[in-house]
């Protein structure tokens, strides 16, 4: 099943400005794919389309065998809740909640916060932010916040993980840590990961690289 895009077009505004020019791509289950390219090349736009957050102007996208466009609002949110994890460049932890509570937001929406608590703590431990479980985001460093956010994305073992520049705001040590976590998750949990990054080194650590140039997939990496 995986994620399939056929002739995916995205344009904005009027007169329409075409950002993605009829992309065809397929990401298989368990694959770790990176999307890279220059700023403005359409990386984020493509990621939002693949991850149900946005709909294409033309063409079809199917994820896990279904088209997000055809889901009802409730089905869509249920799908995100159970099958998708997001990591953004800005960590976006809820400031009123502790690290652990933030991690348990997804399970809570399904009524599973109690069952998942131990797992959440184990995950935080694994990501080396166990000490931050009962701290509020304002008491954590940027790297720690990002790792708590990763724990939040992983807690329900989603089938698909989408990350948009997760290392963008971090120094190289923290960035490396995040990349290692993604690699491990990909290997150990058979998760499908789509990573957007403009750093060539990180992009290269994926199983497969998709390189965008002005909204088109380029075969030639330069």
């Amino acid at each position: 099943m995986g994620i399939v895009g056929k002739n995916v077009v995205k344009q904005f505004g009027s007169p329409p400005m075409v950002i993605l020019h009829g992309l065809d791509l397929e990401i298989e289950d368990g694959e770790f794919v990176s999307i890279s390219g220059r700023s403005g090349s359409g990386k984020s736009t493509l990621l939002y389309l693949l991850s149900t957050l946005d709909n294409p102007s033309d063409g079809v996208i199917e994820i896990d065998g279904v088209s997000p466009q055809k889901m009802t609002v409730n089905e869509l949110h249920r799908f995100r809740n159970e099958k998708i994890g997001f990591i953004f460049q800005f960590h976006y932890l809820l400031p009123e909640l502790t690290g652990l509570e933030n991690v348990l937001l997804g399970p809570r929406n399904l009524g599973l916060e109690k069952q998942k608590k131990d797992e959440a703590l184990a995950l935080l431990d694994q990501l080396e932010v166990y000490k931050q479980a009962n701290k509020f985001p304002s008491e954590m460093s940027g790297g720690e916040q990002q790792r708590v956010a990763i724990a939040r994305a992983l807690i329900l073992s989603p089938k698909y993980l989408f990350a948009d520049e997760p290392t963008g705001n971090l120094d190289s040590v923290s960035g490396n840590k995040v990349m290692s976590i993604l690699e491990e998750t990909s290997q150990n949990n058979n998760m499908t990961i789509v990573l957007v990054t403009h750093e060539r080194d990180y992009a290269a650590r994926a199983n497969r690289e998709i390189y965008l140039v002005d909204g088109r997939i380029s075969e030639n990496y330069s």
Binding site: D54, R80, N81, F86, F88, Y92, L105, G106
Partner: protein, 414 residues
Amino acid sequence: MLYLAIRQMLSRKKQTSLIVLGISFGTMIYIIVAGLQFGFREYLTEQLLNNTAHVLIKGSERDLSEKELRPRFFDESTLVRWIVPPAGKRDEVRLVNPQGWFQRLEEDPDVLAYAPRFSINGIVSQGRYRHSVSITGIDPVKQIKVTSLEDYMEKGSLMELDGGGSKIVLGSGVLETIGAKVGDTVRLSIGLGEPRPYRVVGSIHLGNEQFDKVMALGNIHDIQTLNLSPGRVSEISVALTDINLSHEKAALWSLFSRDEVQGWEEANAQFMQMIGIQDLMRAILTGAILLVAGFGIYNVLSIMISQKKKEIAILRSIGYGPNRILELFLGQGLILGFIGALFGILLGIGVNLIIGSIELSFEVGKSNHLPISFAPSIFATAFAAALIAAVIASFLPAFSASKMTPLDIIREEM
């Protein structure tokens, strides 16, 4: 979502408590004003109902005519030409045909009880002290069924007037003025003939100087005899089985007779008007409170939502749908309204208890405290008003928050 709503409110304690305080304050003011208004209204209604029956039948005021007066001053044969013809009202009003009324009331199934009265002005005296009074002859057995006058007897009972025999009940103010007490014998004069002795068998205290200083009650037959007008009746109080029939019944009965028939509302048109004005005032006040409370909630939530867009985007991407986002903010508005209203009601009750415990230098009814109503309807109204304002005020921002898509927010933030 309640959990997150509460967490979000707790994390901004200052804002939250200010809004709660605002809502409580508004609710409290309403409780105080309504408590005082309804308290006074209950008191006045009771006072009025003591003296006004559901339906009152009374002799209509009649103009004096020149024809009626002429024989009093001149004999038949004199030809009189008035320079200014005499004009005026009869001092005394009486029913045209009291017996006819008694029969009609007796037969009407909607009539619970009725009591005829005959009133004249007179002067009571004891020793050197004289005081003018309004003497009302009553039939005690019937009167007790129509009004609660008996409840206001300080000493003795209205029933002692039953059967007649030169007995009288005086207002507490009257007794004080002439320096008499229950058991004494006073003299009563109405301008006709010699003053006659009456034994004071009771005193009545309505807590209203207007009445207490002029009231004298006697047996109706005694008073009729004293006035040399046996069988004369000035008015009949009627108690109906249902007070809401009073207007209808009065309208019907007034067709039968020249006498004036008034329902409770007509008889107290001024009072009803005052009630209307009070209701209007309270409605305006309630509106103002709702507006202030609502505006506060609206502002706080709107500001908060614009500051929390990123978090809304995150929640949406985690799988919290638009309805959950709506719940999150609507919930906060409702909690603010609920706590504010509850707190305000408690404050209002507290203040009203304090106001009600102040000892006044004058009497209101049976005590010297301000009458304050603690009717449940006041609290229900205040509570509902605060909550409705909270719902409306928080729905608008909450709804707009639920309509934001994560993508709009993420793009906007970058």
